[in-house]
Amino acid sequence: MSQVFHRSTNIWSKVSIVLGLAFVTFLAWIVVSLSWSGYVTGQSVTVDQPVQFSHAHHVGSMGIDCRYCHTTVEESPFANIPPTKTCMNCHSQIWTSAPILEPVRASFRDNTPLRWTRVHDLPDFVYFNHSIHVAKGVGCVTCHGRVDRMPLMLQENSLQMSWCLNCHRNPDQYIRPRDQVFSMTYERPANDPDFGKRLVTEYKIADVKQLTSCSTCHR
């Protein structure tokens, strides 16, 4: 039986192998970069909220402590989103007729809760606990970024597992003294290489084996 393809067509088979591999690589690149992009992780994306609440104004300009609103951050897995009552503590006195606050007043009046859109949304099989991170010297800024500069709340970090593990593997590089946890402006001492390690010992932070056991976060 004679040859179906002439010898001169060999080039096409070589080209198609190379192109095929390149295409697969390209597809893989698309998948990977898409899954790491803010489009999927939600990083640096602002979302619509019922009230255009500005952390930059309340934290940056007014200097309100995180815990005034996020009351349960030191005792519960959940940092708490403040009840409408907390807003009205001040806004029954000031800006009482600002149109932007109408949803808040309506909520208080009608006893219907505000429905915020979650900005930092972990997958449902991850069980993050705020209280322990705060107790062990993880600053709010470390994960949430400089919220005092965010007119609209956005997610500073990717919240992917590799990002979590950065700190769970090397807590000494990220933690800060407990009294600085709620500070927006704290800087770690630059010229003290053992600073983090001392804090890890002092705060009895679990070893890496414990911090990276699956059931520490997944259950």
């Binding site: 998948v31 898409l34 999927v40 208080f108 505000l114 059931s215 997944h218 259950r219």
Partner: protein
């Protein structure tokens, strides 16, 4: 079943042979094939009949999802904060409230976990004397009933939706007509009630309408005229039961189990010096239907139910005389009587609820003669406010209904159309009632034919009160507002009382107990736990709601309320006369019905899981394997191996039961240890009208209603039954699932043997050298080292752990068909082993063993996972990471304990909205294609670890209690840190009777067992 094969196998066995089922014992080819398959045949096939199109659709969908799974965006989530946040509410942390779940009117005291206002988990109330932290399957499963989407959701009149106001005015209209007749046409029908506030309401109604009558019917009520007794098993050295199952079946069993098992455990672990002080109690069970109490007994005598009375007589005569179908009876009874005599004042005779009053009278005489009254047993008035002859009460009502005397019948709870004895024809009588009202949680048989249907509030939605079995007043508070317009019994009764018009359940209950506190309700005086009076009514009420019960209201403590209590004066006289005679208390023989020996005996019992049928729509209880048979979802007729052989029946044969002119059908289960010429049938199945879960699957299953055979003159047993095979029926049983061939999973010794030679337990197996392993060592010294100890001496096989685990860990229900495929999902199962010859009921011994994940230190499962979805944690747990699992099932294949469970299909119900708040928010809800298993309740470990670390301390011993351990009424399961030598679990692990399951495999399981020790009478061995 091949009995010759069984005999030869038993004869050839070396040492003790334990077997789980007759199939295993006869070692049939079918059984071996079953055993050697990783999963049952076709387990990995998808048998959904939807067909090829559906399959292709799903395949393409899953391909697409697999490809871009990593890029799928999460759906947007909302956060909905409070408008005004309640005080003490910390979002993200659960709150616990004390309340009670009444069962048969008697309170099971519970603590309920509530996450942001929705209850998710029921635990026993640790401070309440009737629970001491334990609970039972019914209390545990009640949370599922709360969220059941099939509950009756609105008030209806002749199937049309109406409002509470409509009902109210309709009743007022009726009352207006009744008033001149003094309520002569007014009838109430309730179940057993212990609520003092309801009692007062009923008394008020009777005052206003003197001719009105109140009837009572509970199909499981004990025989009329039987004295009400409470037992103290902590003081009883010798216990003889007369067809009594005190370890299961109601809230009293929780405390009895704790006391009985506590005595056993203390004796088993007593050091030599204190051995004399801690005598192991000895239990003789004389019983008909095999029960878990009989399984726990040191000696068990199977007799027909009709022979129990004669056995009681023989026992009180002290000589075992009499003729019995069982040839071992005389020797047994004589030995038991001798043992009772030798333990005067420290023994106890317990008569069964389903035995006639005469047996109870003999038991009481014996207890009085033995000086047990006031020590191990207290007789007094019942905690029921309506104690009496239930059958007579219902008969009187039905006669009045038949003769047209009833204008308004108010049925408050219960399902009499389904449960009434057949000879009363309650359903026919109901059609002659001018207006009928039913209060029920489900659209059931009774609601189907009554005019007005009022949805009943679930106990977790209700204000109310009930008394515990010991009389302790237990107050109920709601965890959640009624989901479906439900009303409580008190609210419905208030409609009939002018003075209470418009009051809600909270006001009714609080107002009653505040009055009781103030002393305007006669008979009550309350003090705080220190014996001081409360500061104010408000502090009293707050205290009661916090604790869930009122101190000092137990009948034994509140002497005035229990006139008959304490030592009966005449008992001394009886004891002194009988001291010379060998007899314990010769009783009147004429009072006893003569034992009938013609025809087969039929024994009626409530189903151990769905009870009288009320839990038929509860999937957790339906799927819980029933004791002994391990059958799920269906009732069976139990009979002995000999009777089955005589009638040519095997397991799964469908038989027609003919009894007193009525017929019903049931599948057969051969139960070794069942008395001869006797058949036990379980009522509760064969439901015609109920929710989706409980409705009978097909026409055959609708004929399983054995209430149709029951007559009001012999509610609990009778003779004259005929059976005939009519076909086959598929039974879904877990008995042969997850087997571990021929090794020695349960280890048993007598307490004598063990004290003489503690090594007797270790000799059952071999402990290979610790170095004999290929798996590298892991250093646990720097972390907690979690371990779980399960004491088989205490375990009664009650299954509460299984259902508590199901509730805590969001474990789905899979349905009968899937159970038959071996796909049940329970993380902790209770294995059941027999010992003895099936044909010889006397030789049968039964053992139970709960099996959760062993959390092996050298875990075979971890090695074989190709995607690292099951890994070792620093604390030694075999972590299961659901989001990594791709469903190869290699881990399950490599697990010698068969404790891993695979989601073959989407077993979780993602659709039904009412089931969402049921789930524990701290545990992932697993999807299809994912392996899962016991985690030692890692969510509780993590919570405790975080709390401890925040406070810069170590986790305290006992701070973490997994769901199974917390629920266990016998306190048989202990969890803790094995690195802490002072932890309770470490001390237990160091005992000589502790062993590892299949420890010859050197998996070094963290879950260890403590061998079962029994205390047989040397005279009977």
């Amino acid at each position: 079943m091949d009995s010759s094969a069984i005999r030869s196998r038993l004869a050839g066995a070396e040492g003790r042979l334990f077997w789980r089922s007759l199939g295993e014992l006869s070692d049939t080819p079918q059984f071996r094939e079953y055993l050697h398959r990783e999963f049952p045949e076709q387990a990995s096939q998808w048998n959904n009949p939807k067909g090829r199109r559906e399959f292709l659709k799903l395949m393409s969908a899953s391909l697409a999802l697999a490809g871009v799974g990593a890029c799928v965006k999460q759906p947007e989530e909302r956060i909905v904060p409070y408008v005004r946040q309640p005080e003490e509410m910390v979002p993200g942390r659960p709150l616990f409230f004390a309340t009670a779940i009444p069962f048969g009117g008697v309170a099971a005291p519970v603590l309920v976990e509530s996450h942001e206002g929705h209850p998710t988990k029921v635990e026993g109330n640790p401070q309440h004397p009737a629970a001491l932290g334990g609970s039972d399957i019914f209390a545990q499963a009640s949370i599922l009933t709360l969220y059941d989407p099939d509950r009756l959701q609105s008030i209806r009149f002749r199937s049309e939706v109406r409002g509470w106001g409509d009902f109210f005015s309709a009743m007022k209209g009726q009352l207006g007509a009744q008033r001149p007749r003094q309520g002569a046409g007014l009838r109430f029908l309730t179940e057993r009630l212990t609520s003092a506030s309801a009692a007062e309401q009923i008394a008020t109604i009777k005052q206003a309408y003197p001719q009105a009558k109140w009837h009572v019917w509970d199909p499981t009520a004990k025989a009329a005229g039987a004295p009400s007794a409470t037992y103290d098993f902590t003081k009883a050295d010798v216990v003889v039961t007369l067809d009594a199952d005190f370890l299961t079946g109601g809230p009293a069993a929780i405390r009895y189990t704790r006391d009985f098992a506590g005595r056993r455990r203390a004796a088993a672990d007593a050091e030599a010096a204190e051995a004399a002080e801690h005598v192991m109690n000895r239990l003789y069970a004389i019983e008909s239907t095999p029960t878990l109490t009989g399984a726990k007994a040191d000696h068990r005598l199977p007799l027909r139910a009709s022979e129990i009375a004669a056995a009681a007589q023989a026992l009180s005569g002290g000589n075992g005389s009499g003729t019995f179908s069982n040839s071992a009876a005389q020797a047994f009874i004589a030995a038991a009587a001798k043992d009772l005599q030798a333990h005067r004042g420290r023994s106890l005779v317990v008569a069964g609820d389903y035995q006639p009053a005469a047996v109870h009278a003999i038991a009481r005489q014996m207890n009085e003669a033995l000086g047990n009254v006031g020590v191990t047993v207290t007789y007094g008035p019942s905690v029921d406010i309506n104690a009496g002859d239930h059958a007579a009460s219902l008969r009187e009502l039905t006669q009045a209904m038949h003769s047209g005397q009833v204008d308004l019948l108010v049925i408050l709870g219960g399902n009499p159309v389904f449960t009434a004895p057949a000879d009363l024809h309650f359903d026919v009588a109901l059609t002659k009632v001018a207006l009928s009202v039913s209060l029920s949680m489900f659209p059931d048989e009774t609601a189907f034919v009554t005019h007005w249907n009022v949805p009943e509030a679930h106990p977790l939605e209700s204000w109310g009160d009930a008394r515990a079995f010991d009389g302790t007043v237990t107050v109920m508070q709601p965890l959640i507002a009624p989901l479906y317009d439900g009303k409580t019994l008190q609210e419905v009764l208030a409609v009939f009382i002018d003075a209470q018009t418009g009051k809600n359940a909270h006001d009714l209950v609080k107002e009653f107990w505040t009055r009781a506190y103030a002393g305007t309700v006669p008979g009550w005086t309350f003090t705080d736990p220190t014996g001081q009076p409360f500061k104010s009514a408000d502090s009293f009420w707050r205290h009661v709601l916090h604790d869930g019960w009122i101190t000092g209201t137990a009948a034994a403590e509140n002497g005035g309320r229990r006139a008959e209590g304490g030592n009966v004066a005449t008992s001394d006289a009886v004891a002194s006369t009988s001291a010379q005679a060998p007899a314990i208390a010769p009783g009147p023989s004429s009072a006893l019905p003569p034992p009938s020996s013609s025809g087969l005996e039929i024994i009626f019992r409530p189903d151990p899981m769905i009870w009288d049928g009320r839990f038929a729509n509860n999937g957790w209880l339906q799927e819980l394997p029933k004791p002994f048979t391990k059958i799920t979802w269906d009732p069976t007729a139990w009979m002995s191996a000999n009777l089955a052989k005589e009638k040519g029946l095997i397991d799964g044969d469908l038989v027609e039961l003919r009894y007193r002119g009525n017929t019903a059908k049931l599948p057969v289960a051969v139960v070794p240890g069942h008395p001869e010429q006797s058949v036990t049938v379980f009522y509760g199945y064969g439901r015609q009208v109920t929710g989706r879960v409980g409705s009978s699957a097909d026409a055959t299953a609708r004929e399983f209603d054995v209430y149709k055979l029951r007559t009001s003159d012999a509610l609990h047993f009778g003779t004259g039954l005929e059976i005939a095979k009519v076909g086959r029926y598929l039974l879904a049983r877990t008995q042969e699932h997850h087997l571990m061939e021929d090794r020695h999973p349960v280890r048993i010794a007598t307490v004598e043997e063990y004290r003489k030679d503690p090594e007797v337990i270790a000799r059952f197996g071999e402990r290979p050298p610790r170095t004999l392993t290929m798996i590298p060592d892991w250093d646990y010294s720097q972390h907690y080292k979690w371990g779980l100890s399960i004491d088989l001496t205490s375990c009664t096989g009650c299954n509460t752990c299984t259902i508590a685990c199901q509730s805590e860990n969001n474990i789905p229900v899979v349905g009968k068909e899937q159970v038959d495929n071996g796909r049940e999902m329970h993380w902790i199962r209770v294995d059941h082993y027999y010992e003895g010859t099936p044909e010889d009921a006397n030789s049968i011994k039964t053992h139970h063993q709960p099996v959760p994940c062993m959390q092996c230190e050298k875990a075979p499962c971890e090695l074989v996972c190709p995607v690292g979805a099951t890994t070792h944690s620093a604390e030694g747990l075999n972590d299961m990471v659901y989001n990594r699992c791709v469903g190869t099932r290699y881990c399950s294949n490599n697990c010698p304990y068969k404790v891993r469970r695979f989601n073959f299909l989407l077993f979780q119900d993602w659709e039904t909205p009412s089931l969402e708040p049921l789930r524990n928010p701290d545990v992932t809800v697993r999807s299809r294609g994912v392996m899962e298993k016991c985690t030692y309740c890692v969510q509780r470990i993590n919570l405790a670890r975080i709390d401890a670390k925040r406070e810069d301390r170590e986790i305290r011993d006992g701070e973490i209690v997994p769901a199974c351990a917390s629920a266990c009424p016998a306190d048989a399961i202990v969890f803790g840190n094995l690195n802490d030598p002072n932890a309770r679990v470490s001390k237990l692990a160091a005992r000589e009777r502790t062993y590892g399951l299949l420890e010859e495999l050197n998996t070094r399981p963290r879950t260890t067992y403590m061998a079962e020790l029994r205390n047989p009478n040397p005279e009977l061995s």
